[in-house]
Amino acid sequence: MRHHFIDRYSDLNSPVHRLDPRVKILLAFLGILIVVSEPPGRLLPFAFYGGLLLVVLLLSRLPFAFLLKRYLILSPFIVMASVFYPVSLYFAEETQAIAFHQETIEVALSIFLKASLSLFLLIWLISVERFHILLLGLRKLKMPKLVGTISILMYSYIFVFWDEALKTTRARESRTPGKLQRIKLRTYANQMAMILLHSWERSKTLHHAMLSRGFHGEFYSMREPGLKKADVLFLALFLLLFLHIRLFTDPLFIQ
């Protein structure tokens, strides 16, 4: 019964879900780093990355329909960025000639694949750990304290915002006959600003409430994460596999 729009499948129980948050963050971050560092135009390794990712996803027991849907919703920007690679070359005089060569198309395709794999890793990350535990993990990985503090506040204030939006809508509806007429636009604008203002006032009192309960900008959780041997092994194994693909795919598959 939590706010599911944030971390929908983070409560599942799988071997991956049970790992330390730091492992998940590092795997996602370094995995993305390795994938995007592929030189432009190489395509074959992506088949292996894809296979590896599939294994991770299977181990995490995440519903594929969900992952795919999420990907499809977010893919337009990726598609656009890849399509625009050749197109942008075409629209500039000095590069027009090479715009639709095979190599250019291959670069565009590798942009698409890199971005898609990175996106899947991100979707995976938020689906295997509760968001605020991820933040805790990031903090343990030396994320600046100020960013941590802002994160804690933002995380609670996001709900304040939702809440205020919901409330003002209710309040307005209960005193308006159906659709707003004459003063429609002004009322909507007013309402938006009021949401901001109310949230601002509430953010101050909530901060007070936090301070009076000892808040000093740090993260805590009832289940303090701890690195175990399994965590380290999991991370090392998968990173090595990623690295292996990155470094050794080419010599084996030279055309």
């Binding site: 694949l113 971005a115 990175s118 938020i126 802002i150 506040l153 204030y157 953010s203």
Partner: protein, 191 residues
Amino acid sequence: MHISDGIIDPGISIGALVASVGLVYVAGRKVPQEEIPKMGITGAALFVVSLIHIPFAGTSVHPGLFGIAGILLGKRAFPVIFTVLLFQSIILQHGGLLSVGINSLNMGAGAFLAWLIWRQQRMPESLRAAMAGIIGVLIPVFLMVVEFHLSGYGLGIIYLFSVYIFAALAEGVISLFVVKFFRKTKSDILA
């Protein structure tokens, strides 16, 4: 207008990430206690507002409010923008984990210039507010064009980004309105 992972040159992304973490420390030195809730709520506002998608020219744009962030937070806007982008990349998968740095530098530059304009006390307040809103969009877009170009894209990319002119104007109106409203309610949010 977030750059996803894998689209621009990874060297740029990583350099930007390192630079932006440094900048978080610089911009966040000696933050007074009273500023903290304001930073949090502005961050939350930026995040929530980014959930509102407006269909536009085949894709969708969402308000960024980076101009307003600049107006409200001044040089403290940067750590907030960094955090917002971190949230967006993890929760919404907008942008990417690696690109948090480059994205925050882009948007942060917008907020910073918006703040510089906002501080020009001699200009009428409404003008400053509107211009801050507009600049808050245009600067990040300009920087993105440069970065795409540096990553091998042709200059034709400018056409893609020209649609943001409309977004910029819309944000100008929004910030004008927000500033007027806060003045009217005598809220202490406008320092």
